[in-house]
C-alpha cells in the first residue's frame, strides 16, 4: 500500500497544504516508509478486540449550559485576528 504522487497531492488538498516539488518528493518517501511500518499491525489478531478511542472511561460529561464567568470578551476573542471589520473576522471574499 504505497502513496502515489497524485494521492499525496490529493491529501495535501484535503489538508489545505501547498507543497513545493522538493517537499513532495521528500514527504512521499517518508510517508511510504511510515506506512510500511504500519503493515506490522496486521500480525495481530484484532477481529474481536474493541476500540479504545479515549483514555478515560467517562462518557457524556455534561455541565450546566451557562458561560464561564471569565470567558473571553468579543474584543479579546478578536485581538489576535489577522483582519477584523465591524467586530467580525474578515476573510477574502468567498462569493464572486
Amino acid at each position: 500500500m504505497a502513496i502515489s504522487r497524485e494521492e499525496l497531492l490529493k491529501l495535501a488538498e484535503l489538508a489545505r497544504l501547498n507543497l513545493s516539488d522538493q517537499e513532495i518528493d521528500a514527504i512521499q518517501s517518508d510517508l511510504n516508509r511510515v506506512l510500511e511500518h504500519f503493515e506490522r499491525l496486521k500480525e495481530l489478531e484484532l477481529a474481536d478486540v474493541p476500540l479504545t478511542p479515549h483514555s478515560v472511561d467517562a462518557t457524556n460529561v455534561w455541565r450546566e449550559d451557562i458561560p464561564y464567568e471569565n470567558g473571553l470578551t468579543r474584543e479579546e476573542a478578536l485581538e489576535n485576528a489577522p483582519e477584523v471589520r465591524a467586530g467580525l473576522f474578515l476573510v477574502p471574499s468567498i462569493i464572486e
Binding site: R16, R40, L41, N80
Partner: protein, 487 residues
Amino acid sequence: MADLTQLSAAEMRRRLDAGEVTAEELLEAHLERIRELDPILQAFVTVDEAGAREGAKRAQERIEAGEACPLTGIPVALKDNLATKGIRTTCSSKILENWVPPYSATVVQRLEMQDAVLVGKTNLDEFAMGTSTEFSAFFPTRNPWDTERVPGGSSGGSAAAVAAALVPLALGSDTGGSIRQPAALCGIVGFKPTYGRVSRYGLVAFSSSLDQIGPFARTVEDATLLFEAIFGHDPKDATTVEEPYDPARARGVDIQGLRIGCPAEMFSDQVDEVVRDTVLAARAKLEAAGAIVEDFSAPIIEHGVSTYYIIAPAEASSNLARYDGVRYGLRVPADSPNEMMKQTRAQGFGKEVKERILIGTYVLSSGYYDAFYATAHRARTLMRQELRKAFEKYDLILSPTSPTVAFRLGEKSSDPIALKLADFCTIPANVANFPAISLNCGFADGLPVGLQLMADSYRDDLLLGAARTVESILAIEPKAAPIAAHG
C-alpha cells in the same frame, strides 16, 4: 549568589520560609544564570523578566505574611505550548510566532494561585512533534552535558533549563515520551502522570487522547511538589478525573518486597549496550536492596510505535485544522479563502508537522479508516489488556527510558523514521495510559542514562514514592549539569 540555583526546590522553600533568602534574590540568581548560559543552550523562546520580577515581589509579600504555599517564590519555566495570558505562546512554530493568548492554561493559573514565579517559555519541537527539539522553527536547544548534542524532545527546552539550573522546576507535555525522553537525555527527573490527572485546558492540542502535562525537576521530591500543585479535576477539561492520591505514599515506599517486572521487549538489542548495562546495574542495586525483580514478555510492546504513529497524527491532523489564518496566528494573504489557507499553512508549518498532518489525513480518509485508524485503536486495547495483566503481578515496570544517550545535533534529524522508532519504551505509557517517570540511573561515556518506571493507572502516588526510594538507593547526587562543550 549563583550557588542558590544549585539548590533543590524543597531546599529553596525552606530558606524562603526561614527568611534566609528572598524570592527576589532567588529570582535574580536564576535570571543571572539564564543571561549567562541561555545564549549557549537556547532553552528559552521567551524570558519574561519583568513579569517574573512582579511575581517574585508578590511571592515575597505572601511569604512575609506567613501565607506561603509549597511553590510560592520558586522559579518555574513553562513549555511554550502552554497558554499564558498576555505572554506570547508560540509552540515553536511560525504559525503561532506572534500569538498572545487571551487566557491562561489551568496549570498556569494553579501555579499563579501559589505565586510560583513564572520565568519564561521554553523551546520545543514544533507543536511538540519530535524527540530532539531540532524541529523547533526558531533554533535547536543544546544539551547542557554536551552542547554538541540534543537535549531530547519535544520538551527539550524545559529539560535543558532544569538540568542546567536555569530554573529548579519546569512543566512539559508528554504525548509519546516528550517529558521522559528529554529528562533521560538531560539527566533529570521527568514525570508523565496518568491521563486525566492534569487538566489539558490551555495546552495547545497535539493528540488529545494522549497529551498529558507533567513536571521536570532535579529530584523526585521536587517533581512531586510541582505535580501536586497542578493536578486534580478541572471543569474546563471533561477528561480530568477525581481519583484518590495519597501524598504520604508519594513521599516514599518500602523497597522490601516491591515487585518489579522488566519487559524483554524494552531490553532488546534495539537498546544500546551502554544504556542497557547502566539500567541493568541499577536493577541489580534495587534487587540487592530487597526488591523482587523478574523478567517478563509482552510482545504487544513491539507494536506500540506503529499504533502511536497512526493515532497521534490522526488526532493532530484534526487538531491542527484550526490554523487556517482566520481567527489568530499567521495569515498569508491571497485572493480566495482556500488559497489563503493553503499558503498560510504551507509557510506556517515545518516539514515534520506537514508530514504528520498528511499521515493523519491519510489514515482517516475513507477506505483506509478501518485498515489504519480502527486497527490502531484495537491494538491500543490489546496493549492496555496485556500490560494490565503485568500489573497484576508487578507494582512497577522498569526499563530504559530511551534506547540511546543524547545524540549529536543533525545526527538523526535527517531520518525521521529512525527518530520515531526510538520511542518504543515511552509510547506504551501514553497509548495504554499508565503513569511513568524517568530518573537518572547513571552515566555512559559521560552522558546521562534514564531509567523508566511505570505503574498501573492512577497509582501516581505509588510511582512517585517508589521513584523517590529508587533515587535514594541509586544514590546518584542530583546536581546541575556542567555546561560542557564537546571535548
